[in-house]
C-alpha cells in the first residue's frame, strides 16, 4: 500500500530515465527516443521557432528564480555577436538538495540534448557545464556522456549534417556556494575568484568572456528535449496557470520516505509530505517544512494546503528554490534553524559587499545571543530592520535572500523566539542552554546511576530512597544522565 501511495501522486517526466537506463551507455538513451527532438529541431526548425515553442510551453527556470526560459533565450538570441555561450548550472549549492546531481548522474544525455537545442536557439557554439567538485560521479558521467555524444556526431561539428556546430566542456567548482549565482559563476568559469558583479549588464548581453550567455539550471535543460518530443501543449497541460510542467523535489529530514520525487506543479505540500512522504518519523508531530534552502523559508501546518508553484510560495514568504524539502518535527527549534542558515550564508558570503558580509554576521550574532538566553526583546525588531536593509542593499542574490529564513521563522514562529527571549526556554528542547533536566519522581528508582555519571556532581540523593534530585545551578545540561537512565526517569524540559 505504501508503495502505491508513494507513486500515485507522482509524475515522472524529468526523471523518466533515471534509474531505468544505464547512464554510461548513450544507446540506451537513444533507445528511449533520446536525441530525436534535437535532430528534428536542428534539421527542420528555425531558431526563432524554437524560442516560440519554449515560450508556448511556459517553461520557467528550475534554478530558483523561475524566470521564463523562452524570454531568457530570446534576449540572448537578439544580441548580435559571433561568440555566444550556454552554461548549464550544476552547482546545486542548496544544502539538502540532490535533484540536479541525480539528473546528471542518471540521465546525462538529457542535459546535453537540452544544451544543444538552447545553443541552436540563441546561436551559440560552445557550452559549459559547471559542476560542483563535491559531485565527482556527476562530473565523470557528464564527461563520459560528452565523449560518447561526440563520437556519434551528436555534439561537435556539423551535428546531423545541419551545419550547426556545438561543443561542450565540463568545468569544476571548488567549494563556494556563491558560484551558483550567475555572475559569480561567470568569473569562476574564467578561472577567477567567484565574486558576483552588479547586473545589468545581464549575462544575456554580456556574460562569459563578455559575450552573450544563457545560464540555465540542470533540470530546466533536462526538460527541453521532452518539450519538443511531446509538444509544448503537452508540457503546458501539466501544472498550474503560471507554473507549468513538473518539479523534482528532494525529500529529506524527519519524514518516513526520503528521496527524490517528481510531481506536477500545483500539488499541495500536504500531499507531498503525508501521501508521498508517508508522514513524520517516530509518530511525532509535524512542525514545518523548509523550502528554498538558505534563500527560502519555512511553511507551517496551517499553510500545507497551498499549491506548490512559484507564485504561491513567494506569497508565503518562501520560494521554490531548487527543490530541497526538509521536513521538521516538534523536536526541531525554529530559532536554531534560522541560526543554522545565517551561519551558512555568513560563511559563504564572498565578502565583496558590506551589507552581506557584515549584516549577516550581525544577524547571526543576535540569533546566537537568543539561543543562549541572552536575547533582548528589542532584538526582534532589530532583526527585522537588519533583514530589510540587507535585502535592499546587497549586491547579489545571496545577500538579498539571506534574511529570508529569519523573516520566515519570525512570521510563523515569533512566539518561539519570545519564549527564548522572555522565558529563557527553548520549547523544542534543542538550545542546550535553555533546557532543564528534571527527574520524574514516579519513575525514579534511586538506582544512583545518574549521580555517578554526572560529570559535575549536580545530582544528589540517597540510594534506594527515590527520587534523586538535579541541582539546576550546577547542571551543565550535557544530557549524560538522561542518556544513561535505565528507567527513562529523566525529562528534558
Amino acid at each position: 500500500m505504501g508503495q502505491k501511495e508513494y507513486l500515485k501522486n507522482q509524475q515522472r517526466e524529468v526523471l523518466q530515465n533515471c534509474g531505468l537506463i544505464n547512464p554510461e551507455n548513450i544507446r540506451e538513451y537513444i533507445a528511449r527516443d533520446g536525441y530525436q527532438a534535437m535532430g528534428r529541431v536542428l534539421t527542420s526548425c528555425q531558431p526563432q521557432d524554437v524560442i516560440e515553442q519554449i515560450k508556448k510551453s511556459g517553461l520557467r527556470g528550475r534554478g530558483g528564480g523561475g524566470f521564463p526560459t523562452g524570454r531568457k533565450w530570446e534576449y540572448a538570441a537578439r544580441a548580435v555577436n559571433e561568440d555566444k555561450y550556454i552554461i548549464c548550472n550544476g552547482d546545486e549549492g542548496d544544502p539538502g538538495a540532490f535533484m540536479d546531481r541525480s539528473v546528471m548522474e542518471g540521465d546525462p544525455h538529457a542535459v546535453l540534448e537540452g544544451m544543444v537545442i538552447a545553443g541552436y536557439a540563441i546561436g551559440a557554439h560552445r557550452g559549459y557545464i559547471y559542476v560542483r567538485a563535491e559531485y565527482p560521479v556527476a562530473v565523470e558521467r557528464m564527461e563520459l556522456a560528452i565523449k560518447q555524444a561526440r563520437e556519434l556526431g551528436l555534439v561537435g561539428k556539423n551535428i546531423f549534417s545541419s551545419g550547426f556546430d556545438f561543443d561542450i566542456e565540463v568545468r569544476l567548482g571548488a567549494g563556494a556556494f556563491v558560484c551558483g549565482e550567475e555572475t559569480a559563476m561567470l568569473n569562476s568559469i574564467a578561472g577567477k575568484r567567484g565574486e558576483p558583479r552588479p547586473r545589468p549588464p545581464f549575462p544575456a548581453v554580456a556574460g562569459l568572456f563578455h559575450k552573450p550567455t544563457v545560464i540555465n539550471n540542470v533540470e530546466t535543460l533536462a526538460n527541453v528535449g521532452r518539450i519538443f518530443l511531446k509538444g509544448p501543449e503537452y508540457f503546458a497541460g501539466i501544472g498550474t496557470e503560471k507554473s507549468k510542467g513538473t518539479k523534482v523535489f528532494a525529500l529529506a529530514g524527519k519524514i518516513n520516505n526520503t528521496g527524490l520525487i517528481e510531481v506536477p506543479m500545483g500539488v499541495t505540500l500536504r500531499s507531498i509530505i503525508f501521501d508521498i512522504g508517508g508522514g513524520i518519523q517516530k509518530g511525532r508531530k509535524f512542525k514545518a517544512v523548509l523550502i528554498g534552502g538558505p534563500s527560502g523559508g519555512c511553511i507551517p501546518e496551517d499553510h500545507l494546503d497551498a499549491p506548490i508553484d512559484y507564485d504561491s510560495l513567494l506569497k508565503l514568504g518562501a520560494m521554490m528554490g531548487s527543490g530541497g524539502l526538509i521536513v521538521m518535527d516538534e523536536s526541531d527549534c525554529m530559532v536554531d534553524i534560522a541560526k543554522f542558515f545565517l551561519e551558512f550564508t555568513q560563511d559563504e558570503s564572498c565578502g565583496k559587499c558590506t551589507p552581506c558580509r557584515v549584516g549577516t554576521k550581525r544577524m547571526h550574532e543576535i540569533l546566537q545571543r537568543i539561543t543562549i538566553g541572552e536575547g533582548k526583546e528589542e532584538d526582534i525588531s532589530l532583526l527585522k530592520r537588519l533583514a530589510e536593509d540587507i535585502r535592499k542593499s546587497s549586491l547579489c542574490g545571496l545577500g538579498q535572500t539571506a534574511p529570508n529564513p529569519v523573516l520566515s521563522t519570525l512570521r510563523f514562529f515569533e512566539e518561539e523566539y519570545l519564549a527564548h527571549i522572555r522565558d529563557k526556554h527553548c520549547p523544542a528542547g534543542v538550545c542546550s542552554r535553555l533546557v532543564r533536566f528534571e527527574i520524574i519522581p514516579e519513575k525514579c528508582t534511586a538506582c544512583s546511576i545518574c549521580a555517578r555519571i554526572c560529570p559535575v556532581e549536580a545530582i544528589s540523593g540517597e540510594p534506594k530512597k527515590p527520587p534523586y534530585f538535579i541541582h539546576q545551578g550546577i547542571c551543565i545540561k550535557c544530557g549524560a544522565c538522561q542518556a544513561k537512565c535505565p528507567f527513562s526517569a529523566i525529562a528534558k524540559i
Binding site: E92, G93, D94, P95, G96, A97, F98, R101, A133, E134, Y135, P136, R171, L172, G173, A174, G175, A176, F177, S188, I189, A190, G191, K192, R193, G194, E195, A250, L251, A252, G253, K254, T258, G259, L260, L290, G293, G324, I326, M328, D332, I337, F340, F341, F344, E348, C350
Partner: protein, 175 residues
C-alpha cells in the same frame, strides 16, 4: 629543511608530474582553477612553491593565484592527513543530529574542524551537503559514504582506519 633521499626523490617526481600538467595550460589564465585542482591531486595541498610554479606557467600574477586558492574552500595551503573524515553539515544532516556527531569526532580525535591529527592519520572536515540527504546523517571517509551515522559508530570507524595504517609507511612519511 633537509630531506631524506626517498623524500627528495618523491618531491622530484611530484614536480615532474606538475610540470607535465602545466604544459597543457601554458599561458592560459582561464585554466587556473583546473590547474589548481590537478596540482592538489598530486601534492595533496597547494604549498607556496607550487602556487609560484602555476603562476609562472599560466602567466597569472602570484597574488591572483593566492587570491583564488584562498577563495575556494576545497583548496588547502596546509598538508592534510592520510584519511579525510568529512561530516556533512547540510540542512538534512543537521536536523538529524550532524552537529553532535561533529562534536564527538572533535573530542575523539582531539582536533578542530580543518585540523589534522598529530600522527597525520586523520583530517577532520565539514561539508555543505554531499548530495546523499536521504541517507542523513552522513559522514564521508576518503569519499566513501557512511550513511545514517551515529556518534556510537565513531570508535569503531577510527579504530578501523588506524589499524589499516601500515607502520612502515608511517615512518617514511614523517617530515
Amino acid at each position: 629543511m633537509t630531506m631524506c633521499n626517498s623524500c627528495q626523490q618523491d618531491a622530484e617526481e611530484k614536480y615532474a608530474e606538475l610540470k607535465k600538467v602545466l604544459t597543457k595550460y601554458h599561458n592560459d589564465p582561464e585554466s587556473l582553477i583546473v590547474a589548481l585542482h590537478e596540482a592538489q591531486l598530486i601534492f595533496g595541498y597547494l604549498p607556496r612553491d607550487v602556487q609560484i610554479h602555476i603562476a609562472e606557467a599560466l602567466n597569472v600574477p602570484i597574488s591572483e593565484v593566492y587570491g583564488v586558492v584562498t577563495f575556494y574552500s576545497l583548496f588547502s595551503t596546509v598538508p592534510k592527513g592520510r584519511n579525510k573524515i568529512t561530516v556533512c553539515m547540510g540542512t538534512a544532516c543537521y536536523v538529524k543530529g550532524a552537529g553532535d556527531i561533529l562534536e564527538a569526532l572533535k573530542e575523539n580525535l582531539k582536533i578542530d574542524v580543518g585540523e589534522t591529527t598529530e600522527d597525520g592519520v586523520f583530517t577532520l572536515e565539514s561539508a555543505r551537503c554531499v548530495g546523499a540527504c536521504s541517507l542523513a546523517p552522513v559522514v564521508m571517509v576518503n569519499g566513501e559514504v557512511h550513511s545514517e551515522f551515529t556518534a556510537q559508530d565513531i570508535p569503531e570507524l577510527i579504530r578501523g582506519y588506524r589499524a589499516a595504517q601500515d607502520p612502515a609507511e608511517k615512518r617514511s612519511d614523517l617530515h
